[in-house]
């Protein structure tokens, strides 16, 4: 028997029975969820559990923004994706999983990087924005678009064993820029790829985001507005600190200076997503073939050339050149005196991106002898030695 009672079908009433039984939630809460739309920015560690629970809960329309494809290294924490989806776009992998969890949810995939020229158009169609991005530039972009369109920004961010969660909503409290007016200098705060992350961590932080999203939509409880939760998985502690709206905030303050989206890559000093990650032509470089020639001729020692690995120690443990010395990227500024002993510096990392940043930095510090190993270990594995472990 079909029923249109209260706008939910008999099958939906069965599906959401445990919600309907909650006195504080009930039919009204379920109807609000079904009428609501939520945009998830990023389908990584945070977006994966958030998407699954919001779908199961019965959010009517879920938008998914991610340009990336599913990689093996994602599966340790990005539980919405599975082995069978390796190499497939994350938004399509997630859409398939959501359809299986709850066929009543409409999914809108955006297989693109979020940029200043598409953010407002995408955000406009959603009630709540959930920020599960993995870089500072996107986080400022998400914040500014939310402030300009008056949308709540359910924020989560993670580092190794710790997370930060809050709801930024300029109309009702502080925004992200009230808390962090400026990003850190480029490279100072490593990403999850560089620093590592405990797989279960984003599950917890993502589900705090999902919880806040459901509460905002249903209008129940006390939202995490004006409060920041600092979660520590190792100590298993939640610390709550109070956030204030900054009257001088450049976008939501009394006299806003930012009235439209800006260039976030420039603001954060990071290479843009429109730049190919291997487009390192701006810095002097050598190819892996040239590196092999110089390694085989034992020329490095003769010419006092240092091969410098700027990855993290855990990456060094996986694979490194025996001739190399490890100076992780973030230690470089403190170890310039050491580097000055070399006549020439050949800098490498996993893909050639971090090492290009380091070479660019070294040139600003007067190291005209620094060169990037183009493509890094991945290029070495691809073009020189296929037995090289890649990760």
């Amino acid at each position: 028997m079909q029923t249109a009672a209260n706008g939910l079908s008999a099958a939906e009433l069965r599906r959401y029975a445990r919600h309907l039984t909650l006195p504080e939630f009930g039919l009204e809460g379920q109807q609000k969820l079904r009428a609501a739309s939520v945009l998830l920015v990023g389908l990584g560690g945070l977006g994966a559990p958030t998407a699954m629970y919001l779908a199961a809960a019965g959010v009517g329309r879920i938008g998914l923004v991610d340009y990336d494809v599913v990689d093996e290294s994602n599966l340790q924490r990005q539980v919405i994706h599975g082995q069978s989806m390796l190499g497939k776009p994350k938004v399509l992998s997630a859409a398939a999983r959501i359809h299986d969890i709850n066929p009543y949810v409409e999914v809108v995939p955006y297989q693109t990087a979020l940029r200043r020229d598409n953010a407002l158009d995408i955000f406009r169609d959603y009630d709540v924005i959930v920020d599960g991005a993995d870089n500072f530039a996107t986080r400022y972009l998400v914040n500014d678009a939310c402030v300009l369109l008056d949308k709540p920004n359910v924020h989560g961010s993670i580092f190794r064993f710790e997370g930060q969660v809050s709801v930024f909503w300029a109309k009702r409290g502080p925004c992200y820029r009230c808390l962090y007016p400026e990003p850190p200098p480029p490279g100072m705060i490593p990403s999850c790829a560089e620093a590592g992350v405990l797989g279960v961590l984003p599950g917890l932080i993502g589900l705090v985001q999902a919880t806040e999203t459901v509460k905002l939509i249903a209008g129940i409880g006390a939202p995490l507005i004006g409060r920041l939760l600092l979660y520590d998985a190792l100590d298993m502690t939640f610390r709550e600190v109070k956030l204030r709206k900054d009257p001088h905030c450049p976008i939501c303050g009394e006299q806003p200076r930012i009235t439209e989206l800006i260039d976030y890559d420039e603001f954060c000093g990071t290479p843009g997503l429109h730049t190919h990650p291997f487009d390192t032509a701006a810095v002097p470089e050598i190819t892996v073939h040239e590196l092999r020639r110089r390694l085989e001729s034992a020329e490095l020692e003769r010419t006092n050339t240092w091969l410098v690995d700027v990855r993290e120690p855990y990456e060094w443990q996986i694979v490194h050149f025996p001739q190399a010395r490890l100076i992780p990227m973030r230690e470089v500024p403190q170890r310039l005196d050491e580097l000055r002993q070399a006549s020439e510096l050949l800098v490498y990392c996993r893909s050639g991106a971090r090492s290009a940043e380091v070479v660019r930095y070294l040139h600003t510090q007067g190291f005209k002898n620094a060169k990037n190993v183009r493509g890094g270990i991945l290029a070495w594995a691809r073009e020189i030695d296929p037995n090289t472990p890649v990760y």
């Binding site: 990023g42 977006g47 991005a133 961010s157 993670i158 808390l179 999850c192 600092l230 109070k242």
Partner: protein
């Protein structure tokens, strides 16, 4: 009881632990805590302070859950035993 400071994310490995009891007298100010920390742990300087010696704007010091710039006396706020200081940077992982 001593003044306790908690360190997060990239600051934690520099200090070597999440939680420190600071060997400072009650009445020490937040500025004195900061001065002590960068002297005792020189690598903290680059993580906390810009080239002008000002706290980076992606780093926060909270006292008992309150952001220092919003305290009446800001960095000159005196701390008492049992006060808890949290020092954390922005992180962006997702």
């Amino acid at each position: 009881m001593a003044i306790v400071a908690n360190f997060y994310a990239t600051l934690r490995p520099i200090v070597g632990s999440k939680r420190l009891e600071l060997p400072l007298e009650a009445g020490a100010t937040v500025q004195q805590v900061l001065d002590y920390l960068v002297q005792r742990y020189p690598a903290l300087r680059n993580e906390l302070l810009d080239e002008h010696g000002n706290l980076y704007r992606h780093v926060h010091i909270f006292v008992n859950g309150r952001d220092v710039p919003y305290l009446e006396h800001g960095m000159n706020t005196s701390l008492t035993a049992s006060d808890v200081v949290d020092v954390f940077p922005a992180v962006a992982g997702g």
